[in-house]
Amino acid sequence: MSVLVDHFDVFASGLWLTFQLCLLSAIGALILGTVAAVMRISPIPPLRWVGTAYVTVFRNCPLTIVWFFAAFGLPALGSNADFLRIPGLTSVFSRLGVDIPYFRFAIVALSVYTGAFVCEAIRSGINAVPTGQAEAARAIGLTFTQNLRHVVLPQAWKAAIVPLGSVIIAMIKNSALAGFFGLVGELSNSGVNLTSALGEPIIPVFIGVSIGFLIMTVPLGLLLDHLERRRAVAR
């Protein structure tokens, strides 16, 4: 198990890169999913169709296929996902701004894929809000958007927090695919490198990789349990 100590820096930097990928993808997925959920309940039929089509496609395609299209399809279309070079964010997350686009492709793949599941989790949260809440909001003259923004979504979020947490945990685990689609230096890719390039024994290395993922997922799970308990008390 000495590899864990000898190459601690490799594991640590792998964990850090995976953490950045997961954080940015989670934000992207939450935004995409919320927009899709709002579209799916909107009174305008074409918006509903777009939302439904998005969820149908990305919830039902394997993640590897989605990632394949992000990593090979986007360049074929002439895009390096440069829209993710968001000023300010690039100074905190330096990989976001580099010329090699695989970090950005990974964010696109994970966000778009996970967003479909986020959408359904939020929609189940919206359905959990009693219809009387939205009716009362309409009765005082709030528009559809104001109603969502001030009355329905804040309550839907609370109801959706536990299923959303499960979706994000699944996304963190899915991020292990990133190394196979060109992202050098994330946690599982670092593990592969240690075994193939340096000949380190496989089992200890992947125990190290597992520990890295557990460091992210277990505290998130505990946080969710805590939030759920607090919600149960408040009710």
């Binding site: 009716e135 009362a136 005082i140 003259g141 001030h150 804040p154």
Partner: protein, 257 residues
Amino acid sequence: MTLHRAVTTVAAGEPLIVLDSVNKWFGPLHVLQDVSLSVDRGEVVVVIGPSGSGKSTLCRAINRLEPINSGTITFDGKPLPAEGRALARLRSDVGMVFQSFNLFAHKTILQNVTLGPVKVRREKSASARDRAMTLLERVGIASQAEKYPAQLSGGQQQRAAIARALAMQPKAMLFDEPTSALDPEMVGEVLDVMTSLARDGMTMVVVTHEMGFARHAANRVVFMADGQLVEQAPPDEFFGSPKSERAKDFLSKILTH
């Protein structure tokens, strides 16, 4: 304190709410059958009738929470607009109180009352807050302003809901069975608030089973059965000598106990 907005287009005694041959179906169920009703400004109309007679649907149709299938509804001289900004504007002029209160569960009582004035009327939050506190004072729950709805009794919640509706300075108030979900000892406090509103000249449409309130606060009682508006008369006349068999039957059932 003034409950009415300074500018009104309809003078007292003129019709504010007019329903003309309104029909509404829920699937095969014909819940409103050719209903015509006119409510004057300042008038208090109490709608009574057996369960499933369409009273609630009638009440909810007036601010288009239930869209109708045919006929017309005009409010303050204008026909109800289709879903959208114009309808939102109209709804802000019509206060509504629900059977199950429907206070926003994630907001305090004070936030419940100020949400509409701030977001719909674009009032400054300080002035909205002052007015909200005055209204909460008036309905007797100013001390509960910082609590959440779930921490209040049913009667307090319903009074908060009335304050929330009044905060929009509506031209009319709709009450959809406001006391039906309350414990008996809390009915009185809500009816007291409604009675004082009626005395102040608020235009009100009240769907209720409270015959006492109908007797002493209503200008007119409307009796509905099976989706039809069967009979309407001043309360003394209606309770003293109902004309239709359906109303006699209904009254004999509820007044013998």
